[in-house]
Amino acid sequence: MRPLTEEETRLLFEKLAKYIGENIKLLVERPDGTYCFRLHKDRVYYVSEKILKLATNISRDKLVSLGTCFGKFTKTLKFRLHITALDYLAPYAKYKVWVKPGTEQSFLYGNHVLKSGLGRITESTAQYQGVVVYSMADIPLGFGVAAKSTQDCRRVDPMAIVVFHQADVGEYIRNEDTLT
């Protein structure tokens, strides 16, 4: 377990900024305690100070995970955001997409969202912008990347993909073992 290097921090923030923009500040500097990012076996964990201190007493090979896993760095140093970060992305999300009840299930199985399943979308969403996907009852389902900007969404045909699936809460069941 070690703190992130500058390069890694930069990559992490760039990725997070795609979804929550400048609200990362609220993650880094919280009024209710010091939280920080730690790297352990290529995975980035968001831990509070207290837990961190406890975790330093565990040897590396025995330590499985700590705090919340935000994602991991791949071999080629790209950062992949995991579904476990949703709890921290959802409240600060800048661009949101609401999905119709019928398409919810499809999304939870890992499929992309089609225009026919799109309920609502935040105005002025750019193309390839990171978005958080909600159900119509405002329950966060996961996150993805907008395949079309809001304007394009209006005029595209109903079978076109509007949101690329990146992570959904169904993964907790489907990919249990890879989530640590």
């Binding site: 921090t9 930069r10 760039e14 900024a17 880094v28 500097e29 920080c36 990012f37 100070e49 201190k53």
Partner: protein, 704 residues
């Protein structure tokens, strides 16, 4: 079904190595009588059986054999799968058979074949390679390789393959026109040549094109390898030097031979050799600028010296020469300088040619050596040794050069010296980061010195210095010495700063700060960009007025046009209102100025009293005013009436005009009253004008 039993040999593969002959007999006995069993074990080097197979001679009927095959083939026996096939002949048998066949074939050459074909064709209806009434292109029944061509002639379809090529071309003779010709003039039966004799043989031509057409390409010549790197050249130079030393004998023999061939006299020999040397010198002097030239000089001059040495040795009467290079060289140099001009032209020319050949020979040898030598990684030390040898050479020559050398030779040597030195310094510099060597005498010491760590590089600061120096590579200008060392104090401070330990909280705070910094870098960068974009957008919006030019075809330029206001379509109410207003004349006071007699009778009654109608001009002036007032009054009150009641032209009953009109003629006011009024006014008026008259007179009088 045939029940005849025949002896067949079966091959059994995949036998387990513990299988015995008896077991095989049992197994196969069910299908027929087993006469012979052979088992072959194939073992590898360690004695482990690799393959086990066998042959069985069995006499059985066909059906039985088939059954045997189907059952036992691919079946498992003791863990191994069996493979049963009809055995190929034991090859002794085979050989024997082949020999027999070969013998048979010798006796019966192709004629048999031809006869067969003819017979088969006859069966198909082809007589003597002819078919009657057949269109060219028809196939011959049962013979796929034959086809009917012109004149009913049956020709074979050929499958041709070019030599050394895989592709096979199919040649169908029926598709080509001029491949057969009817020999009509030979129709009489006496002159009947067999087919074999009709083939034409063309003479093979030996020129290149026809060779190529046949497919006889000449063997490719090897490409000449080019020399590449300068370093390699130097290496080669050195190597060539070392080689040339060893090759001296070779090269020297050739000139010696040449010499022997041409001249027998000693004098001529010596003169020839001398000549050669001068010419070689001159040629070499010309080409000194080139590397080849240099090499040539080195090589050829050396060869020459050697040759001379040998020649001189053979003729030791005249010149006392030792094989040692130095002295011989110099002496000869000095000698040759004395008599350059005496040689005739022809001899000189011949010499130049010879020299060229020599040089070429020398260079070709070098060429052959180079590819190998070039690949050698030559280390500093070895080269140095070679250089040393070269140096000694040159040194030796240079020492005695003071005596008698011509300028050319001196330069030559100097150049060699410089070349060698440069080479040495360069190679020395490359491999080790050490200082230059100036003297050879120090070489031994420097070898040790090279490996000692220089004092300025010791310690941590020194390490820094070393790394700093290595940044600049081997550049001489950047050698770091003590002056470049950082002061130790600074170093100490730095280390202290690094070593200071944070408490955990401070670390976390520090980390947070760092994270915020990075965040600020990541995010405001994007904000800054948007700001910049906005500014850029502003700039984009600025439009230069002077650049603006009205273009009627452009839609957005209609803004600039003055629009002609079109009459608005007003509502009816509005239009009516406006009309009413327009027709309304300004209001006139309603005060009635005079009494109007409404009825005519009253009019006439009043006038009846005074029959005299006096048309005074005084009265007339008053009338128009009254008249006007009258009409306006009427108009005002009876606007609508007037509109509706169109004034008819002709008088009608109760026409107003009839009533009003006569009144205009009559006096309205009492005559007496009028008179008295007038009288009053008159007197007043007279007084006034009299006054004015007096004043005017007074003024005139005053002026005078």
């Amino acid at each position: 079904m045939e029940t005849t039993k025949s002896l067949k040999r079966l091959f059994i593969g995949g036998l387990h190595h513990t299988v015995s002959e008896s077991e095989i007999k049992e197994r196969f006995g069910t299908f027929g009588a087993v006469t012979d069993v052979d088992i072959v074990f194939k073992k590898d080097s360690e004695g482990n059986p690799v393959k086990t197979f066998g042959y069985v001679n069995i006499s059985a009927s066909e059906t039985e054999l088939k059954r045997c095959m189907s059952i036992l083939n691919k079946s498992k026996w003791k863990g191994e799968t069996l493979q049963i096939e009809f055995a190929k002949e034991c090859f002794l048998h085979k050989l024997a058979q082949e020999r027999q066949d070969a013998d048979k074939n010798k006796h019966k050459p192709q004629v048999d074949g031809i006869a067969k074909v003819v017979e088969s064709l006859k069966k198909a209806g082809v007589e003597n390679f002819k078919i009657r009434s057949a269109v060219p292109g028809t196939e011959v029944p049962e013979h796929t390789d034959w086809i009917v061509s012109k004149f009913g002639r049956v020709l074979p379809i050929l499958h041709l393959r070019q030599k050394d090529q895989k592709k096979i071309l199919k040649y169908d003779p029926s598709k080509y026109c001029h491949n057969i010709k009817k020999l009509d003039h030979l129709s009489n039966w006496e002159i009947k040549t067999p087919v074999a004799n009709l083939t034409w043989y063309l003479e093979e031509q030996d020129d290149e094109m026809s060779k190529k057409r046949r497919g006889d390409f000449p063997a490719p010549t090897q490409p000449v390898k080019r020399k590449k790197l300068l370093v390699n050249k130097y290496n080669m130079e050195n190597s060539s030097d070392s080689d040339s030393n060893s090759e001296q004998n070779e090269m020297s023999t050739t000139p010696v031979e040449h010499n022997d061939k041409r001249t027998s006299n000693k004098d001529e020999l010596i003169s020839a050799t001398r000549n050669k040397f001068t010419l070689s010198k001159s040629t070499c002097a010309d080409s000194m600028n080139q590397n080849f030239g240099r090499q040539a000089t080195v090589a050829s001059s050396k060869s020459n010296t050697w040759s001379k040495a040998q020649v001189a040795y053979s003729d030791s009467e005249e010149l006392e020469l030792i094989i040692a290079k130095d002295k011989s060289k110099i002496k000869e140099l000095s000698q040759t300088d004395e008599k350059p001009k005496d040689m005739p032209l022809e001899v000189r020319q011949k010499e130049t040619e010879m020299q060229k050949k020599l040089i070429q020979g020398a260079l070709s040898n070098l060429d052959s050596q180079k590819p190998d030598k070039g690949k050698h990684v030559i280390f500093d030390f070895e080269e140095q040794n070679e250089n040393k040898a070269l140096f000694e050479d040159i040194r030796g020559s240079s020492k005695t050069k003071d005596e008698n050398l011509s300028a050319e030779a001196g330069e030559e040597n100097k150049e060699k010296w410089h070349v060698a030195k440069a080479f040495e310094s360069r190679t020395v510099g490359k491999l080790f980061d050490s200082e230059e060597e100036d003297n050879e005498g120090d070489s031994d010491e420097d070898h040790d010195g090279r490996f000692k760590i220089k004092p300025q590089f010791e310690g941590k600061a020194g390490q820094k210095l070393l790394s700093l120096q290595s940044r600049f590579g081997t550049d001489e200008r950047f050698r770091m010495d003590e002056r470049f060392l950082e002061s130790e104090e600074e170093n100490a401070e730095e280390s202290v700063a690094v070593k200071s330990q944070y408490s955990e909280d401070e670390e976390l705070a520090e980390e947070k700060r760092r994270a915020m910094n990075i965040l600020n870098r990541v995010i405001p960068v994007s904000d800054g960009k948007t700001e910049i974009r906005r500014e850029q957008a502003k700039f984009k919006n600025f439009r230069d007025a002077s650049a603006l030019h009205y273009d009627p075809t452009r839609e957005d330029h209609t803004v600039f046009e003055n629009k002609v206001e079109e009459a608005k379509k007003e509502s009816k109410a509005e239009s009516r209102k406006r009309r009413e207003e327009a027709e309304k004349l300004p209001e006139v006071s309603k005060e009635i100025y005079h009494d109007v007699n409404m009825g005519l009778k009253e009019m006439f009654s009043s006038t009846a009293k005074e029959k005299k109608v006096v048309w005074d001009t005084e009265d007339d002036s008053q009338h128009p005013k009254i008249l006007e007032a009258d009409w306006s009054m009427d108009n005002k009150h009876e606007v609508t009436l007037l509109e509706k009641k169109v004034n008819l032209f002709f008088f009608f009953k109760d026409d107003q005009r009839l009533k009003d009109g006569p009144e205009l003629f009559c006096r309205s006011i009492n005559l007496q009253d009028e008179r008295s009024n007038w009288e009053e006014k008159r007197t007043l008026l007279i007084e006034e004008y009299r006054k004015k008259h007096k004043e005017a007179k007074r003024k005139i009088n005053a002026k005078r």
